[in-house]
Symmetry: C2
Subunit: 201 residues, 2 copies
Amino acid sequence: MIRLLIADDQALVRGALAALLDLEPDIEVVAQVGRGDEVADAVTSSGADVALLDIEMPGMDGIDACAEVRDHAPGCRVLIVTTFGRPGYLKRAMRAGASGFVVKDTPATQLADAVRRVAQGLRVVDPVLAAESLAQGDSPLTERETDVLAAAQTGGSIADIAGMLHLSEGTVRNHLSSAIGKTGGRNRADAARIADENGWL
Amino acid sequence: MIRLLIADDQALVRGALAALLDLEPDIEVVAQVGRGDEVADAVTSSGADVALLDIEMPGMDGIDACAEVRDHAPGCRVLIVTTFGRPGYLKRAMRAGASGFVVKDTPATQLADAVRRVAQGLRVVDPVLAAESLAQGDSPLTERETDVLAAAQTGGSIADIAGMLHLSEGTVRNHLSSAIGKTGGRNRADAARIADENGWL
DNA sequence: CCGGAACCGTGACAAACGTCACGGGGATGT
DNA sequence: ACATCCCCGTGACGTTTGTCACGGTTCCGG
């Protein structure tokens, strides 16, 4: 019997996934949470064997939550389930110690299998996504460029970004210019969009 | 017995919702589709009583699909289920003839009830969302301003937008300036973000 | 019929933006 | 010790952008 924890911020999806997996005779849903920062506690108190984590969650990123679980409860495997099949997410998830990575586009019938494989200690990764991830490589952005682009996403002016990060305006311009060149965007809004779509932020 | 159709682009969510609602003794899932432009056909061929439609779908918007269903199969009620509780979406959905509007944050246990109410001809609307919708009012943007903002979302320069819409650059600048003023944004990227979050695009 | 509103365009101007060249500091690896 | 890379900053430049004033057209409601 596989003891399963489900974490997703959308209550409807969370409940539906629980209903789907509870139908399986060898799977038992022992806990459900809607916030990333509640995952680690729920895993230890419920004694789950596998944690099904969404990435987009309030409180804490699903990937950070994964790292926390691996720290506090090494016996619990983690299967990441997410809407966006961004290569950057996959990379981060694997580095955080996840055993599997599934996109929400995959047929519902395959989810239970994925859970079983993960429970057995195997790895489950969407092959298409894995190929993309390898083909694309790491983020070309430096740490600071990433910060600046993330701040630019909110729509403020250069002066706002400079104040937000305690930098000079000229420095912000330089980082942005560099990021625009690396992403191939035509302005900072475009660059921010591209970087976000690749999971570099 | 309520005959139900489920439309959602994410196969996993679609299957999970089906599993959840199939547990109800008085509900039967008779069809599942993953694209908006397949909804109308599926409704007529399956003879569904209620259609559960997501908004974000390839091929066709869930709201446009709703209008199509109301056109071709007036006997079928529509219940919109969406991730984003944007007031603009609610307005558009109601105008398209939807009987209900539910956010994916609502508890899973309430979904079956919502389906039943809709099947009986009642209206189901998230009360918080309805209040927001009333408080906010309609989009302040004119038709052209909306077009220009939507084009600006892709990140191109003013010249690009002008070419895309067959307008003069000066005209584009004027529309953008007006839109920026109305939305309260600080530049066109900001304005586009705000307008999008309110469902004005 | 006239006023108002939305639409398209022009021209002009200040501000913001993107790019470049340059220098200095710190950390890393050879 | 040296080259290399990232970080931070300055100054200057040409371009893009946002704003404004203005004139014109079309359409609709008073």
